[in-house]
Symmetry: C2
Subunit: 425 residues, 2 copies
């Protein structure tokens, strides 16, 4: 049954263009984003009186609406998600990972209490971890961003961090506790249970098309994509093999029969094109990352079997037709699990310890990957390490304080904070 506040939950759409005066209301926010904003200054033949930003993110425009909508504690929480394009001007772009325009979802919530906002922030971080590990088969480190790396305007930023096969770190998703930074400047207040007016506590969180880049960079190989079965648009491609017209007829019929017997929830297609050879099709579907190729030739028809070839490790198996509807779903699950395990093993191999600044520098320059090292917590040390090595603190993992005590690798101050460094995109 429905809860008590149907209006404030769900998907909404807000305008693309944000007047400069709104973007500028939160000082840290505009300072952080202004260098990356694309500005609309003309419409038709007219010069606009005020510049309009193509949204780099929507806190300002959504906050403006929340100030109108939220009046009473009864209106809280507000839990709204937007699917949208955003734009952040980039000096150097990299396909899917860093593009001037990208697509994302951005959630924006408003709460009555600070505790509720913090809960929401961590709940969404966990939603992202679960999705990325379970569906995309990419292992994640959950942690908090440093003050220097946090979202412009946030109180605290948390992230899910992934390691790409080239040894670079990728921020795969973020969840921000915005505190009352935006509610105070946008005037998002409400009458509380005790009759007093208070400002709401807000969160925002997002993942983007960057995750497509992560899938490509974590699982792919020189032959092309390798898609995790859970998210592959085609999980199994059937490639028929024939030489004569007589064989073609027999094989086509067998393909049809196989398709009829397979579980309907599987995403299976058959590539029946006569103008391409089986070899060409093998390459084509490898390139596209289809997890399993099913080959059916005249001999297989005779033997009442099919060949299943895995995209990830190229292993082949011959499966009796009668076992196929049990074997194929199991195989897809095995591939999903193996992809995660392989990525996890890669991350573990490429996570190294550094007990000195020199060690950090040489690992980063020679091997990349993650480097765990103690840091004093001072932004000056963080900045200097980045300037000299190119590595940034990816996050302060949630278990950072459970890894003993040592000395900051730069300044030597005693510290109980073991953080993760990497070169990032």
């Amino acid at each position: 049954m429905r809860g008590s506040r149907p209006l404030a939950t769900g998907t909404r759409y807000f305008p693309l263009l944000v007047p400069e005066s709104l973007l500028a209301k939160e000082a840290a926010h505009v300072e952080g984003f202004a260098p990356q904003v694309a500005w609309v200054t003309q419409a038709g033949k007219d010069q606009l009186e005020e510049r309009l930003a193509i949204r780099p993110t929507s806190e300002a425009i959504i906050g403006t609406m929340y100030a109108k909508w939220i009046q009473s504690w009864r209106d809280l929480p507000v839990l709204i998600n937007q699917w949208a394009n955003v734009m952040r001007w980039e000096m150097v772009t990299r396909l899917f990972l860093r593009t001037t325009e990208f697509l994302w979802q951005e959630g924006h919530t408003a709460h009555r209490t600070e505790e509720e906002a913090q809960e929401e922030t961590l709940r969404m971080l966990e939603v992202y971890r679960d999705f990325i590990e379970t569906e995309l088969a990419i292992p994640i480190i959950k942690g908090q961003k440093t003050e220097r790396e946090k979202f412009a305007g946030a109180e605290k930023t948390y992230s899910v961090e992934a390691l790409m096969r080239d040894g670079r770190g990728l921020q795969a998703g973020t969840s921000h506790n915005l505190g009352q930074h935006f509610s105070e400047v946008f005037g998002i207040d409400f009458q509380d249970i005790d009759g007093k007016r208070r400002y709401v506590w807000q969160t925002s969180w997002g993942v983007s098309t960057r995750l497509i880049g992560a899938v490509i960079m974590v699982h792919g190989d020189d032959a092309g994509l390798i898609l995790p079965p859970n998210v592959a648009p085609i999980q199994t491609i059937i490639v028929p093999i024939w030489k004569s017209e007589a064989e073609q007829e027999v094989v086509q019929q067998a393909v049809g029969e196989v398709q009829d017997t397979l579980p309907k929830h599987l995403r299976i297609e058959a590539d029946m094109r006569a103008e391409y050879t089986p070899g060409w099709k093998f390459n084509e579907w490898e390139l596209r990352g289809v997890p399993v190729r099913m080959e059916i030739g005249p001999k297989d028809v005779q033997k009442k079997q099919v060949v299943l070839a895995r995209r990830d490790n190229r292993k082949k198996e011959f499966i009796p037709a009668e076992e196929l509807s049990a074997r194929l779903p199991a195989l897809l699950q095995e591939i999903q699990r193996d992809l995660f395990q392989r990525a996890l093993a890669f991350r573990e191999e490429n996570t190294r310890q550094a007990s000195s600044f020199e060690e950090l520098g040489s690992i980063i320059s020679e091997k990349r990957g993650y480097v765990e090292a103690f840091w004093c917590g001072d932004a000056k040390c963080e900045e200097e390490i980045q300037a000299k090595t190119g590595a940034t603190i990816r996050c302060i993992p949630f278990d950072a304080r459970e890894k003993g005590r040592s000395h900051c690798i730069l300044c030597g101050t005693e510290s109980g904070l073991k953080v993760v460094f990497a070169k990032a995109y």
Copy 2:
């Protein structure tokens, strides 16, 4: 089984920003859209060397990609659809019907032959008619736009036209045969079967969030929205009625039981909020246009019945609980059909004949609605009629030439072309 060209069909996403030089390639296209373009001229602190248009439509950017992708007749047809936001600067906006930014789908296809492109153009027009009539319950006139009203850059534009309850016409969707206008200037050519290089024939077609406005304007009344059951997010809202806590318990249990027995494909919610009265909820869900309200009170529980109240005509019926799972789906279908019939009757009542210019003018100024009248086919007459009456030719209906012959209401030239005039949004 899959067809022969898997790469060229489906949903794709193209960039938001279109360099001015691309937009300008097709002369009629840029002339038509430039007055409405929002221009990005700055990024961060930098002045851009070339202005970038926020896409008013995507022929230019998609055509640029098609020129790279399409090489051979084997690559054709290309059938791509994009879901996106677009922007057309408007002097006067009207919620949902005419907004500076709107959301739409835009299909862009490329074909080997002119015939195929024309077929595709009309096929999509029919898809729109079917969707709007069947799902949105809005009666449609299919027809061709005049030269003056066609899409900037198109060879021919067809539209589906709807009549709003305030007597204004609304272009509800369009499908364009682009001929070779874009392929020639963007260089979208291919090697044909005979070895010769030829330009592709293109179409584009779209419907937008304007359709939401159409639903509001066609079906709604002074109490709020009336949503057709086929597209209502909530088809039936259950409002429980109780006075005492004992009654509340009994009614809540009955609501749960009713929900368990109803067909799962129906979209039903129960508004169990204790902080609002049943009367408040009645108004709230009427405002939101839910097609059917189901009331369950203590007496209904005793009598093993529920009350079904229609949003559209406010009729109520008492239904034995055991008949509900058959009656409710049937009632929703009746409402869907009745909404269409009511809108159709309204359109028929508001479609009038004019045999002179004066008659057209007085109908348009006094009654609005559709006016059928003969027109010579000359853009000058069309323009003068608009200038003097405010009415435009909504379309040349597909059956315009089957309605006899008479004289152009303005210039008197003999004509076999009976077209539809209206004031439009």
